[in-house]
């Protein structure tokens, strides 16, 4: 129907615009103010609607769907509590640059501002947690706004948008127009191509580097699979060592020889030391987040910095850079690879030999080491077994937030982009389970595992019911230590081991809970039982909740304590109780 124009109701327009923008699946929850749209959904079968159990779940499911496919995730919620419940997911998508279109119902236009039943100022509430939002008061504006919503969500730096549609506008009749190939919008024009002179300058600087590093982020994933190919090509051409943020895992394969592991607060020793000591840093689609930089005034003091980002406001926000390049990672990498090939001043392999020697010394420090245990499952061991037993399949990993998330990032080796869904910027406990649901809806035949913590998973566990309804065989693998592990770790570091409210005294029986939902419940308590149980989890064609009882007091290392620099990491073999208690000085305690 693209480009055609015909009379229809606002509710029909919504469904038509979704179809015209290539939407196949949406996640939502009905309510009074969106009933006309639900009525239209009922009368068609092109778009599949997934009924969640809470609107936050719809938001995270759409995020998982979007992150694993590169498409826009679509959410449909009602007014008032429907809209407020989705706010967490919107902010999560904003911080991790995930394209979402959230359509919300609103009370009829004449009632707006009267404190009507289930009324809230949705555009007011969601203004700071969206890339843009609209309240559509006239049905004739609706088609244009819906198409704009899709354009804004997925172009430039992707992000969430909200279209708030009063109920009378859903009933009103107007003229529908399909998406137009040329945009009428003048104000929003993201720049994709990087400035060629700056790229040339960057390539020159890179060719002269003796201690270079590539520091990549979620921007490479967002740019599409071609950007990951180009990144791999660049690494191959330059032989530079490469590290990545939490969000960027998978853009470069973990099995690649130049891979140093994740960097940042719980990154590897080699990655952080190389960041600190490098002479040229190439930041590609990452944003110098505080979990990455550690102490800012001691951050990589001797390097020239190149920063590629599609969002001009990311440049010089936290760290001053020498060569900013504003553009899409894929486009800039393409130019970079081309110019590198053409340049006569290539790095000789020997030039980097000393740097690689140093990196190998840091690697030998084996910063992810932990003390194995014959009687108790170490959480790191559980991650290693999950990885070994699933790496040869088409596997997608989501996580909640906390220690388990860091262990998953440290021990699961991602070979491809879009296989890793985690809440990085906002750190939303409860993200992983609904995100896994979204991933599974997009990839029905893939193995989708949510690496969860016992505390996080209970925040959105109601979505197991959704998984059962849609026969989405997601696997919820809980590293159960009965604690909010990361909270406890910080209490040990910062608050004299006073474990204030970080222990869950009443834990549900996760196996029985799984059965109550109509899923399969599994449990492993000893290292020897683990492989069989994991294999059973994989082979069951149903949603599974796996209660993996792990060492209760294990902590996540290595770690850059608050207020410290990259070269002041706390390593696992040095993390005695005393070292942990004294790792952070008074000044550092005020930080997050």
């Amino acid at each position: 129907m693209t480009g055609s124009s015909r009379e229809m109701t606002g509710a029909e327009m919504v469904v038509q615009a979704l179809k015209d923008n290539g939407v196949e699946d949406i996640f939502g929850y009905p309510g009074g103010a969106v009933l006309p749209i639900y009525d239209e959904l009922f009368q068609q079968d092109e778009i599949v609607h997934v009924l969640v159990r809470h609107e936050q779940g719809a938001g995270h499911a759409a995020e998982g769907y979007a992150r694993s496919t590169g498409k826009v995730g679509v959410v449909l919620v009602t007014s008032g509590p429907g809209a407020t419940n989705v706010v967490t997911a919107l902010q999560d998508a904003l911080m991790d640059s995930i394209p979402l279109v959230c359509i919300s119902g609103q009370v009829p236009t004449p009632l707006i501002g009267s404190d009507a039943f289930q009324e809230c100022d949705t555009v007011g509430i969601t203004r700071p947690c969206t890339k843009h939002n609209w309240l559509v008061r006239d049905v004739n504006d609706l088609p244009r706004v819906l198409h704009e919503a899709f354009r804004i969500a997925q172009t430039g730096r992707p992000g969430p948008v909200v279209v708030d549609i009063p109920k009378d506008v859903q009933f009103a009749t107007g003229e529908y127009v399909g998406p137009s190939p040329v945009t009428e919008q003048k104000s929003y024009q993201p720049k994709l191509q990087g400035d060629l002179d700056s790229i040339r300058e960057a390539v020159q600087l890179m060719s002269e580097a003796r201690k270079p590093i590539l520091y990549t982020g979620g921007g490479v994933i967002n740019s599409g699979s071609e950007a990951s190919h180009l990144l791999r090509e660049l690494v191959q051409l330059t032989d530079f060592p490469i590290t990545s943020t939490l969000m960027g895992l998978g853009a470069y394969p973990a099995s690649g020889k130049n891979w140093m592991g994740m960097l940042g607060m719980h990154g590897t020793y080699e990655a952080n030391m190389a960041m600190h000591d490098c002479d040229v840093m190439v930041c590609i689609g990452a944003r110098f987040d505080d979990r990455i930089t550690g102490r800012l005034d001691a951050f990589s003091p001797n390097s020239k910095k190149i920063h590629i980002d599609i969002d001009p406001s990311s440049i010089n926000k936290n760290v001053h850079v020498d060569i900013p390049i504003i553009g899409d990672c894929g486009h800039v990498l393409e130019d970079m690879v081309r110019l590198w090939r053409a340049s006569s001043t290539r790095v000789e392999n020997k030039a980097l030999a000393g740097w690689w020697e140093q990196i190998d010394k840091w690697r030998a420090r084996n910063s992810l080491a932990y003390t194995p245990n014959k009687d108790v499952i170490m959480p790191q061991y559980a991650m290693q077994r999950i990885y070994e037993l699933t790496k040869d399949r088409e596997t997608y990993i989501t996580t909640e937030v906390g220690q388990h998330q860091m262990w998953a990032a440290q021990f699961y080796g991602f070979e491809e982009p879009n296989r890793w869904m985690t809440s990085g910027g906002l750190g939303t406990m409860g993200y992983g389970l609904p995100a896994a649901l979204g991933v599974q809806i997009a990839h029905p035949d893939a193995l989708v595992i949510d690496i969860a913590g016992d505390a996080s998973v209970q925040m959105t566990i109601q979505e197991m019911s959704t998984a059962v309804q849609y026969e989405a065989p997601i696997k919820i693998f809980i590293l159960n230590n009965q604690y909010m592990g990361m909270v406890r770790q910080w209490q040990q570091l910062l608050h004299g081991n006073r474990l204030s409210h970080s222990y869950t005294e009443a834990m549900p029986d996760f196996v029985k809970l799984a059965e109550a939902y109509g899923c399969v419940g599994l449990r492993a308590e000893k290292p020897g039982e683990l492989d069989d149980a994991i294999n059973e989890m994989i082979s069951v064609d149903k949603p599974v909740i796996f209660d993996c009882r792990v060492a209760n007091l294990a902590n996540c290392f290595p770690m850059i304590p608050s207020g410290k620099a990259h070269n002041e990491m706390l390593l696992p073999d040095e993390a005695t109780d005393e070292a942990v208690a004294n790792a952070i000085d008074k000044k550092g305690k005020a930080l997050v």
Binding site: V123, G124, R127, P128, K131, H132, L135, I152, Q185, K186, S187, Y188, D290, R291, T293, G294, R295, L296, D297, D311, P312, S313, I315, N316, K317, N318, H320, S562, G563, G588, A590, L591, V592
Partner: protein, 190 residues
């Protein structure tokens, strides 16, 4: 205006801002649509930027464009962020730092004017003195009876400030100010 100046830096390591604060005047061209002013103001409060003065009105009716003039202060680094963050707002067309532009053209600062209305109540000598000073400041009397005057004064912010402080002991009752309107000198537009 409302927000305290907050150091930016990382929350992970809060560095003290030791740099000098600068005052700048920004011109922001936006689509005149519902909520656009809330987006701009929300950005300032949400990110802890300062607003010293804000003036807004539709300036191109046919294109539905409004021009927002914001006087803000911050370190050079914060001011750069403010400009980029404003440019991220979807209905924002252009952001011009008039102060920088003026300097590039060899001027000290852009042309800035503000209008204020002052109500002054008094009798006898105070009344005579108020009128005499208003004349010296080229303020207009736009309303009066035997007990009060309302003065209209236009000029640079410093002139308005001075006039207000002079009127205070002479029976100043209330003041209303428009905030700064600003353009750069010369024939070129923003």
């Amino acid at each position: 205006m409302n927000a305290q100046h907050k150091p930016t830096g990382s929350a992970y390591f809060i560095a003290k801002e030791t740099e000098q604060l600068e005052t700048r005047t920004l011109s922001v061209l936006v689509d005149n649509e519902p909520g656009v002013l809330a987006r701009v103001i929300g950005l300032f409060s949400g990110r802890g930027y300062n607003i010293e003065s804000l003036t807004v009105s539709e300036t191109e009716h046919e294109a539905h464009l409004s021009r927002i003039t914001i006087v803000t202060n911050g370190t050079a680094h914060v001011l750069e962020q403010i400009k980029h963050q404003l440019e991220r707002i979807v209905p924002v067309h252009r952001v011009v730092d008039l102060s920088i532009r003026a300097r590039e053209k060899g001027h000290e600062k852009p042309l800035e004017r503000e209008l204020a209305l002052l109500k002054v109540k008094g009798e006898g000598d105070h009344r005579v003195e108020a009128l005499r000073l208003a004349d010296a400041f080229r303020a207009q009397v736009i309303d009066a009876n035997t007990e009060h005057f309302i003065f209209e004064i236009t000029g640079r912010v410093s002139k308005i400030e001075q006039f207000i402080s002079i009127m205070r002991p002479l029976g100043l009752i209330e003041v209303c100010r428009t905030g700064v309107a600003a353009l750069n000198r010369g024939p070129d537009g923003m």
